[in-house]
């Protein structure tokens, strides 16, 4: 059987864009490099369109190394949406920071890594995608190389990412040692047929730990707040939205498709991980005074919510994960765009400096409130429907998890409202209005509109995720 290269169309596009940006940047004189802003944005939009157009075009490549199904395509659309919005909303930030070449090239390659992750049908592909993404992010995190916090964050990320990769690899090698294969579907068959050995269970636990690091699940979350705070804000947004979604994509693939035979051993584990992640993320977010740190903890809590969808090995669970990942991207990227735009104007990430933002920039304040409330799950915003889908999958077997999840999401309203309070009630210290540039306004309005639309009329998105979830379990 020949190899159908047309399945790789999205990856070719993304890689092509990455190289094109790199070459273009080297050709351009330094002062003309701001042109890369719109070039990359338009390029990503084209890749996004091209990827979306391959919806329904499914198959496997290289004997199962690479799986292209609707599930993978949907996740690729999610990453590219995140990348596009991050780029579009941060022209000004990047102009101020400089390093256009590195920033845009590596952003494209990180995206490519994510796309590979979503399609990984094999542990080797999985690891390859993961490292492509992680190494790009390491450089991106440390991009402000003359700022201590950014460099510190970069070094932390190198060390911790390296360690988590080691743990993950050890887990993968144990699974390989027991099953004798690295193909995920092959592993599934072997595990289902064979006996459970302690080595396999150990491999599973290590695998969970390694992936737990990537999605910043408690207790593997320690790196997230420091790195989110220190990294350039657009990178924080992309790290929180894209990298996390990609890790979930592969996590579902490995756990649900690869190790379903072991589910009674890991579902309880994942349920407990989800619960403590939700609780710790939300509680520690309360005392934060820096908006980036607060959003970091809240994104830890969000990861806990998405984990809930993996607890039951069902189509509904996978659907809920995708649905939530999609709306989470809009909420996270939108919120961080507000933060980064605000900080380019005021140089501050402190919550108290956002006083009176509703008078200085009504759009920024309104979008921020709406997106935070969506994360808290307040209807009629998207987060509410997302949480409904997630918790519906576990309500029969894990009622306690539903209680914890919903009560903690009400707790999260507390710290989101504190920010709201500062922005709406307090009088600004410096009342000069903050003019919102067009690309930022478009980004914010897209995020807001998507959040509202998915919340009020979730039908279409729900249909699409249903289709994708179906192909995940019953490939074409």
């Amino acid at each position: 059987m020949g190899i159908d290269y047309s399945l790789l169309f999205p990856e070719f596009l993304a890689a092509g864009l990455g190289f094109a940006v790199l070459v273009l940047a080297l050709l351009l004189p330094a002062e003309a490099r701001r042109g890369l802003n719109s070039v990359t944005a338009i390029g990503l939009l084209i890749v996004l369109g091209g990827t979306a157009a391959t919806w329904g075009h499914q198959g496997t490549l290289y004997g199962g190394l690479y799986i292209v199904d609707n599930y993978a395509t949907l996740f690729k659309v999610i990453f590219l949406t995140a990348a596009f919005l991050v780029v579009l909303g941060n022209f000004r930030y990047v102009d101020e920071m400089g390093y256009h070449t590195e920033y845009y090239t590596l952003l494209c390659f990180a995206t490519l890594g994510m796309m590979v992750l979503a399609s990984a049908g094999d542990f080797i592909t999985f690891y390859l995608g993961l490292e492509l993404m992680t190494i790009s992010f390491i450089v991106l995190v440390a991009l402000r190389k003359f700022e201590n916090r950014s460099v510190e964050a970069g070094i932390k990320y190198v060390l911790l990412a390296g360690m988590s990769s080691a743990v993950l690899l050890y887990g993968l090698s144990l699974v390989y040692a027991v099953t004798g294969t690295v193909d995920i579907l092959e592993v599934a068959r072997t595990v289902a047929a064979g006996d459970l050995t302690p080595a396999l269970i150990l491999g599973l636990v290590l695998l969970l730990a390694g992936l737990g690091f990537k999605i910043s699940a408690v207790p593997f979350h320690m790196w997230a707040p420091d790195i989110y705070e220190g990294a350039p804000t657009p990178i924080t947004a992309y790290l929180a939205a894209g990298s996390k979604a990609a890790s979930f994509a592969v996590m579902a693939r490995v756990l649900l498709a690869g190790l379903p035979g072991l589910w009674e051993h890991w579902t309880m584990l994942v349920a407990i991980l989800a619960a403590i992640t939700i609780v710790v993320g939300n509680l520690v977010a309360i005392p934060q005074t820096n908006i980036k740190r607060m959003l970091a903890y809240s994104s830890i809590a969000q990861a806990g919510y998405i984990l809930v969808g993996l607890v039951t090995v069902t189509e509904a669970g996978v659907k809920a994960v995708m649905f939530y990942a999609l709306l989470y991207v809009f909420a996270t990227v939108g919120a961080f765009t507000v933060v980064s735009y605000f900080s380019t104007f005021t140089g501050s990430d402190e919550i108290r400096d956002m006083a009176g933002l509703s008078q200085r920039a009504p759009l920024l304040a309104a979008v921020m409130v709406a997106l935070m409330l969506s994360m808290a799950g307040i209807p009629p915003l998207a987060g509410f429907v997302g949480k409904l889908y997630l918790f519906m999958t576990v309500v029969e077997d894990y009622l306690w998890l539903v209680f914890i999840g919903l009560i903690m999401s009400m707790v999260s309203v507390y710290y989101y409202l504190r920010v709201t309070l500062v922005m709406y009630r307090d009088e600004p210290v410096d009342p000069t209005p903050i003019p919102v540039s067009n690309p930022v306004a478009i980004t914010l309005i897209v995020c807001l509109a998507a959040t509202l639309l998915i919340g009020i009329y979730p039908g279409p998105v729900s249909e699409v995720t249903n289709v994708a979830a179906r192909t995940f379990f019953w490939p074409w």
Partner: protein
């Protein structure tokens, strides 16, 4: 398909808000007129719906159904029946009146009225939704605007407005978290029993849930709706919240938002989980009665006018809970009519106190006195609300109160006697507050007061009229309610026969 009148009623305030976005922030008069026009449109349309509802046919009318989320079986299903119709009318009466009670808001009125209209829409939506999912969409829509309205435009007296706002929000959200758990569990269970997802009230009510499951789920809903209706012991947000809130929010909150709790208990919890309701009815009755007694005595001890009304509304909602707990046609009739009546009188009360506070800058009774000399119209409104609140025959609250007692006495006997006895306490604190605020010798330091006039008179005119008309022509209210309650009970009567327990 007929003209979607309910959607129009819902959208009118939203359209008003959208228009306000484009009105310059300094043009206070236009802002208020837009708000009045939007809420007025809703009011007129809901009056039309109320009086053209066919009580002989009963059931859900003015139906609008559009499939919404297919895989969850959610439909955009709006409609009104005998239970929701009075509530819909109530929201719009109060929404319209509250705009005029806030006529003097001069600090950032644009944002104020935008949020206020979103709030009104949210409350209306919960009453016209016939689908549990749509109900939830609207239900939590109200929480955030209320919070912002309180912390920005509220007042700090005994407790800070931040404390009041946050307390109220946390109570409502935690209550709603429990409610949400119950809704998710009930829905998933219904799918696993019938195999067909259906989020509509009727669809869920048709499912035969196991009895143990019903008991557990009803308990969760009772907690959720109970904290919303300020059922003792989940009431403590209510007096603080009202004290901190600006007038319009107190009016809407005490007037209708609380009633979502009572309405939800009847229309959702009892309707879908009748066996659970039967199990918990005695507990509800006891909690209701304790609420009546406790809050009446607490009101007796207050010196701040808003706290008196706050506690009195907790006490009055106790009667409603008692009426709901008795689970028969008469008592439920009374409970719903009483919610309507209480909404009108509480709103008039808060409106009046709002004017007094605005003009004198105090709500502290010992500082007031004899102001009826200077402001007779405020005095009239105060007395009207007060007399209705203590259940004077001829005003709107008397007959509903009497009906509750009649229906509940058959079931709970002794407990109800305790409740009835508290009417005396109510009379005591209401009359004492009126006497010390309005009457007594003329005090010259209040000679500067100007009586309410012009737009400020609208709340008195609208709400006062309803108070009197509802008292003299109670059938206007009861015909509609009875048609709704009888339909509801017809479906669940075989399950909920509550024996004489006390």
């Amino acid at each position: 398909m007929h003209f979607p009148v309910l959607t129009t009623i819902l959208l009118a305030p939203i359209v008003g808000s959208l228009i306000l976005v484009f009105v310059p922030r300094d043009d206070h008069r236009t802002i208020k007129c837009v708000a009045a026009a939007a809420t007025g449109t809703s009011l007129l349309l809901s009056l039309y719906v109320y009086f053209s509802y066919n009580t002989a046919v009963a059931g859900v009318q003015f139906v609008e159904r559009v499939p919404w989320i297919r895989d969850l079986g959610v439909t955009w299903y709006l409609g009104v029946d005998g239970l929701s119709l009075p509530m819909l009318l109530l929201v719009n009466l109060l929404g319209f009146a509250a705009v005029f009670s806030s006529w003097n808001v001069s600090e950032r009125p644009k944002e104020f009225f935008i949020l206020f209209q979103i709030l009104v829409t949210g409350v209306m939506g919960t009453f016209v939704a016939q689908d549990l999912f749509i109900f939830l969409l609207f239900y939590e829509l109200v929480v955030i605007p209320i919070y912002i309205l309180i912390v920005v435009w509220g007042s700090t007296k005994r407790v800070t407005k931040e404390y009041a706002g946050m307390k109220l929000t946390i109570y409502l959200l935690v209550g709603s978290a429990f409610l949400l758990v119950a809704v998710i569990a009930v829905f998933v269970k219904s799918v696993s029993i019938t195999g067909v997802p259906d989020f509509s009230y009727e669809g869920l009510a048709r499912v035969a849930f196991p009895e143990d499951f019903q008991r557990f789920m009803f308990a969760l809903m009772l907690f959720g709706f109970g904290s919303l209706i300020s059922m003792w012991p989940f009431h403590s947000w209510s007096p603080d919240g009202y004290a901190g809130a600006p007038t319009a929010v107190s009016m809407i909150h005490a007037g209708v938002l609380k009633k979502i709790g009572g309405y939800g208990l009847i229309r959702i919890a009892i309707y879908i989980l009748p066996a659970g309701a039967k199990f918990w009815a005695p507990v509800m009755a006891v909690l209701g009665t304790v609420g009546v007694v406790y809050a009446a005595f607490a009101a007796l001890a207050q010196k701040d006018l808003k706290y008196i009304i706050g506690y009195s509304s907790v006490s009055h909602m106790g009667y409603t809970v008692l009426g709901i707990a008795a689970l028969n046609v008469v008592s439920l009739n009374g409970a719903i009519a009483y919610m309507f009546a209480h909404g009108i009188m509480a709103a008039l009360f808060f409106s009046t106190v709002g004017f007094i506070y605005e003009k004198t800058h105090t709500r502290w009774i010992p500082d007031l006195g004899g102001i009826a000399h200077q402001v007779p119209k405020i005095g009239t409104a105060f007395m009207l609300a007060g007399l209705a609140s203590l259940g004077l025959p001829g005003l709107i609250a008397f007959i509903p109160e009497f009906t509750i007692f009649l229906g509940a006495y058959k079931v709970f006997g002794g407990l109800v006697v305790l409740g009835i006895a508290c009417v005396i306490i109510t009379a005591l604190y209401v009359l004492r507050a009126a006497a010390n605020t309005l009457f007594g010798p003329r005090r010259s330091e209040y000679d500067y007061l100007v009586d309410i006039k012009g737009p400020e008179l609208v709340p008195l005119a609208v709400l006062g009229t309803v108070l009197v008309v509802g008292g003299i022509l109670p059938f206007l209210l009861f015909d509609v309610i009875t048609s709704g309650v009888e339909t509801l009970m017809a479906g669940i009567e075989h399950v909920v026969q509550v024996g004489r327990a006390y």
